[in-house]
């Protein structure tokens, strides 16, 4: 990779100790995002995609904690920082966009108030300068008549406009990384397309790296440069987005892609992956996908595959090894 990565996660393991033993929510997750790059993190509910985003931001709910592994932001290790130092990094260096724009904004304050507060918390600006920057940000995310709208309250904005305000908030201090967790899930399709286009544009213009957490392969196809597919707290496949979508290497990704009804053609029956993802307290031995995998071999039930080169990306599957050797 030509540029040093903005975010680098190495062998991350997140555990939740509990009365009935310790649950492993994330196991051996490694990823990196270059400046200006959008990495899609995709998977079904409970796969650990949101958990990855939270772990990176140091927002794990106790008793959840990082048991192993490292998180590096711009070459600096951040997973062991004390709470106070982490608070400085959130907002300043990592911006966050959450799913529901209505609950991410405080209904009692005007959006200008919320924007200038965030800006002044992280940047040394006067009240007037902060307000000017807030108006600039609103213009940047495509809010018409930003000079007037800045004094409006969240309920005066539509869903799509609110999500734009949330994006402006995430950008307030000029972060190097934005973690966007299902940013378009609560929106209608025509609005969703606008928000995706906006994210891509901001990414290209400002060189901000984005970790885009979503369950929607369509969003990945349109927005992401690379994609990481997660299953049961582990990463099963990483690669360029187009490649993973057109030519998936891991049997889980193949099943996932086959189960999405296509827009341009009609099939008699959708491919279905029988069963469902294992619960965290009952992850099978070997490859976590082996009970549902149509190509499972005896080895898959014993040994756990690590990510290994497959196609142009990487796949955590023993089949990939077979191809190479």
């Amino acid at each position: 990779m030509p540029d040093a990565p903005v975010l680098e996660v190495r062998n991350l393991r997140v555990e939740f100790p509990g009365r009935h033993g310790t649950l492993t929510a994330l196991d051996d997750v490694s990823l990196s995002i270059a400046p200006g790059e959008i990495l899609g993190v995709v998977g079904e509910s409970g796969a650990g995609k949101s958990m990855t985003g939270l772990a990176v931001q140091g927002l794990l709910e106790p008793p959840g904690h990082i048991a192993r592994g490292e998180v590096h932001l711009n070459g600096r290790r951040i997973d062991q920082l004390p709470t106070r130092a982490m608070e400085k990094i959130r907002g300043r260096e990592i911006g966050a966009i959450f799913q529901d724009p209505l609950t991410s904004l405080n209904p009692l304050f005007s959006i200008g108030n919320q924007l200038t507060e965030t800006i002044r918390l992280h940047l040394d600006l006067s009240r007037a300068d902060a307000r000017a920057r807030a108006i600039d940000l609103l213009k940047q995310v495509g809010i018409p008549a930003a000079e007037e709208r800045i004094d409006h309250f969240p309920h005066q904005f539509s869903g799509g406009m609110r999500q734009r305000v949330v994006i402006a908030l995430a950008l307030a201090a000029g972060p190097k990384l934005i973690v966007a967790d299902e940013p378009t899930t609560a929106l209608d399709v025509s609005i969703q397309a606008q928000i995706i286009a906006l994210l891509r544009k901001l990414c290209d213009d400002t060189g901000t790296a984005v970790m885009l957490v979503t369950h929607d392969m369509g969003v990945i196809a349109e927005a992401a440069d690379r994609v990481a597919v997660m299953y049961a707290g582990r990463m099963v496949e990483v690669g360029p987005a187009q490649e993973v979508i057109r030519n998936p290497q891991h049997p889980y990704t193949r099943g996932l892609m086959g189960s999405i009804p296509a827009l341009r053609r009609r099939v008699a029956k959708l491919t279905q992956i029988d069963g469902s993802m294992p619960r965290l307290d009952a992850i099978p031995r070997g490859c976590a996908f082996n009970p549902r995998c149509p190509q499972a071999m005896p080895r898959c039930r014993q040994d756990r595959p690590d990510l290994m080169p497959a196609g142009v990306g990487q796949s955590a599957c023993w089949l990939a090894e077979g191809v190479l050797t």
Partner: protein
Amino acid sequence: MTANAKAALTVQGLSRVFDVSAPWLNRLIERKPRQLLRAVDDVSFEVPAGGCLSLVGESGCGKSTVARLVTGLYAPSEGSITFAADIDGAPLSAQMIFQDPYASLNPRWRVRDIIAEPLRELKLRDTEAEIRERVDALLAIVGLSPRDGAKFPHEFSGGQRQRISIARALATEPRFLVCDEPTSALDVSVQAQILNLMRRLQDELGLTYLFISHDLSVVRHMSDRIAVMYLGRIVEEAETEALFANPRHPYSRMLLETIPDIDNPRRAREVDVGEVPSPLNPPKGCAFNPRCPLADARCRSERPEMLRLKDGARVACHRVAEAEAEREPATAVPVPAA
């Protein structure tokens, strides 16, 4: 719609108005007028027997209200809903599958009792043994085991819960199912399981579906015909393949253009299509005119009538009507308002 296919359901001129006024005292003191919301406005369609008609549109377009009107959960303000003679609209023949399998099952009831409730309520079986037998058969139909009947809903995943609601809907041997976003709360691999199950049941039991969804790829997979709704009205209705190959209404075109397409992503596109206006104060003329690239003065003042085209599609758009009239003046006949 082709006249030879027997219609399982005929809806004509259906409207539903909700009173969303401020409380009486506020109206009196603040001199606020009564506020009426036309959630569904003059909607007409037919669902052919054994087929599947889908209603698609963005949130607030009235598609779920139509579903509730059809199953009798709301009373229509105007218009008629007529089922075919063998489907009289009673609970025996029309049932509904709801969107959220977490909210639509009583958490304190065992699955067996949830599925048996319609049987007991409508006295469809005489003895407990017969009820038990029917419940076990229903569980098997939807791919669960009779042993699952003893469990509670929380012991199941989202997809399994949706199977339970399908089993409950099938308990009365209905001929007609109204499915209101049955898979939008589910993960894609589970969604595929449920869609495959619904297709199988349609073939095996000869069911007719009215399918409500905002997801065009799901709709394409399931339906024979699609009606696109915008702000309470149907703007276009056509056969599935015809609609996808040749969307005529500018709104249908916009919808098809804006959904992310996995096979053919368009990354560099300019998306500036505005947002849905408030249904409380819909635009004059054609409701889509503020977002429409083809709108002119006529669109802003005069509401387009539903036009039936030669291939059986119906479109409500002045531009389409003008183009048709130019091409073949005799064939384009406005459908009289019901």
